[in-house]
């Protein structure tokens, strides 16, 4: 994660020596005064342009990975992910509605989104996950894992259609919404970090406090109940927390897919199956993953930037197939 931080700040149209950047980052801590050898302008690039972008990447990546891991535990479904469950689409629709109907960001830029946007996104996310859950469970008492994912796909399609309709009716919003939808770390400022931070903290605290309960849920609802838990109550709380994290991430940076599936599964391979380990490590690795992906996004086709959502999808598509192959046993 520290590597990602330094690399994310160093690399870009103006390359800065990593050693100097590390020194300048340490200078941000009170009482540290190191001579980084950077000019005023370079220091400004570090603290005003690149640092907020990297910090936002760390936050959003961590949140998406944490939410993905959490959904996988709650639904006992290796394929669960904020995107496949339709949660991100729900949050996306809500943000689009806020922009198109509420006029937020009309001036062609989204910086300066009101602090309430994540709350609207949260409402959309909850609506979506409820729809997916109800539809996915319709096939049986709790439904099969595959049913849930198919329901998520249906809900996503439905909500995306609503979004497209909204955009068509409000053509003046297309430009800002579209650039936001593709994943928008490029224009990130400290404002966006502040927008996400409170929700990120809340989500992280709630989810991490319940990581042992997720291990108990893994043995089944009956067993969890006979061990003294309220499985359904725990499930609702964690769904809400993960959806809040997803909503905050989506409202700050648009649709960045697959982080919630790539990161928790990689952590599983490295560190085992206990959610007590998976969740905190997903948070860290998710942040590092997205910050590094962002480095790729802005250097791969320099001087233009590839939207970060495109990069994660390029990585995530094949990875998803891999998970699908190993999870076949669970799904049938």
């Amino acid at each position: 994660m520290l590597v990602a931080l330094v690399a994310g700040v160093s690399l870009g149209p103006v390359s800065l020596p990593p050693g100097s950047v590390a020194a300048e980052l340490l200078n941000l801590f009170p009482g540290v005064h190191l001579d980084s050898g950077l000019t005023e302008r370079e220091i400004a690039i570090v603290t005003e342009l690149r640092l907020p972008r990297v910090v936002l990447g760390l936050l959003v990546g961590g949140l998406l990975a944490l939410a993905g891991g959490c959904y996988q535990g709650v639904f006992r479904n290796p394929l669960a992910d904020p995107y496949l469950l339709g949660v991100a689409a729900g949050a996306g629709l809500a943000v689009t509605a806020a922009i198109a109907l509420g006029g937020a960001g009309r001036q062609g830029t989204l910086s300066g989104l009101p602090m309430t946007i994540p709350l609207a996104a949260f409402a959309g996310a909850l609506l979506a996950v409820t729809m997916t859950y109800v539809l996915g469970a319709a096939g049986g008492r709790r439904g099969s894992p595959a049913m849930l994912i198919l329901a998520g796909v249906a809900v996503s399609a439905f909500l995306s259609a609503g979004q497209t309709y909204l955009l068509q009716q409000h053509a003046d919003s297309i430009q800002p919404v579209y650039s936001w939808l593709l994943g928008r770390l490029a224009t990130a400022g400290w404002h966006d970090v502040l927008l996400v931070l409170p929700y990120a903290v809340l989500t992280t605290v709630v989810v991490l406090l319940h990581r042992r309960e997720l291990d108990v849920l893994a043995v089944g609802d009956d067993e969890a109940r006979s061990l003294g838990l309220h499985p359904q109550r725990t499930r609702y709380l964690l769904i809400a927390a993960a959806s809040l994290g997803t909503a905050a991430a989506v409202s700050a940076t648009g649709l960045i897919g697959f982080v919630g599936i790539i990161v928790p599964h990689t952590v599983r391979l490295l560190a085992g199956s206990s959610y007590r380990v998976i969740l905190p490590m997903s948070l860290l690795f998710g942040g590092a993953f997205l910050a590094l992906t962002d480095v790729v996004a802005r250097t791969a086709a320099a001087p233009t930037e590839v939207p970060i959502g495109v990069v994660t999808a390029l990585l995530g598509g094949p990875f998803f197939v891999l998970v699908l192959r190993t999870a076949r046993r669970v799904l049938t």
Partner: protein, 265 residues
């Protein structure tokens, strides 16, 4: 929970359970004394598992069930979990989970909400693993164990729960005949050493009769016979309720039930 002398471990009075509008149990009475092993038998669909689930608190049964003198409905979930432990017929085996982590889940009713295991919890689990000859297995992945080993791990989780009432739903159905005996001997040994009370359901009648103090025959949602194994395992009762053609042969530890091909008229 320290039982007062004479108070039964389980007392079920007039239990009615319906699932989705279909009555499953219609007025079941059952008493299990402290330290006793009672096995519920009955044909498929008689309601054996449902009875066990109700006693374990997994199904609402207001007023019908008393555990060690306290109404089950009055117990909080965590309190009940310290009194009753259930081993389901085929428990979920979470992929990748180690034996130690799985058995540690048994300590859940002692861990404060949002807390984590104390060293005392971990010690208790290692003690249980040692007692069940699983000490060398604690790092192994549960999913890689054989059926008999797994069944021992499930038992270990239930024992780690520290409950004195053990509910076993078909504890031997997935095992070969040697492992069936091994698991039942183990349960019986634990019962004698730790004063556990066992309420089980079983399909293998000979095996059930050899280990149970008393048996309850359930058919059509009610108790049709109850008593010692020789009282319940009779050719007449089994013919009536299982529609089975059997010979019952006296054995050293209980009647042996041998299926005999019906003679054509």
């Amino acid at each position: 929970m320290i039982p007062e002398p004479g108070v039964p471990a389980v007392e079920v009075r007039g239990l009615h359970v319906g699932l989705g509008g279909t009555p499953i149990l219609t007025g079941v009475d059952l008493t299990v004394a402290v330290g006793e092993w009672v096995t519920v038998i009955g044909p498929n669909g008689a309601g054996k598992s449902t009875l066990l689930r109700a006693v374990g608190g997994l199904l609402p049964a207001p007023g019908a069930i008393t555990l060690f003198g306290t109404a089950s409905a009055a117990l909080r979930r965590r309190e009940r979990a310290r009194v009753v432990a259930t081993v389901a017929q085929s428990p979920v085996v979470p992929p990748g989970m180690s034996v130690l982590d799985y058995v540690l889940l048994g300590r859940t009713p002692y861990i404060p909400a949002l807390g984590r295991e104390s060293t005392a919890d971990v010690d208790a689990v290692h003690e249980v693993l040692r007692r069940l000859d699983l000490a060398g297995f604690h790092r192994r992945e549960l999913a890689t164990l054989s059926g008999g080993e797994r069944q021992r791990v499930f038992l270990a989780r239930a024992l780690a729960q520290g409950a004195t009432l053990l509910l076993l739903d078909e504890p031997t159905s997935a095992l070969d005949i040697g492992h069936q005996q091994e698991v039942l001997e183990l349960v019986d040994q634990l019962r004698r050493e730790h004063g556990l009370t066992v309420l089980a359901t079983m399909h293998d009648l000979s095996l059930a009769g050899e280990y149970a103090d008393r048996m309850v025959l359930l058919a059509g949602g009610r108790v049709v016979a109850a008593g010692t194994p020789p009282e319940v395992l009779t050719e007449h009762l089994l013919a009536t309720h299982y529609r089975a053609s059997v010979r019952v042969v006296p054995g050293a530890h209980g009647p042996l039930v041998v299926p005999v091909r019906p003679t054509r008229p």
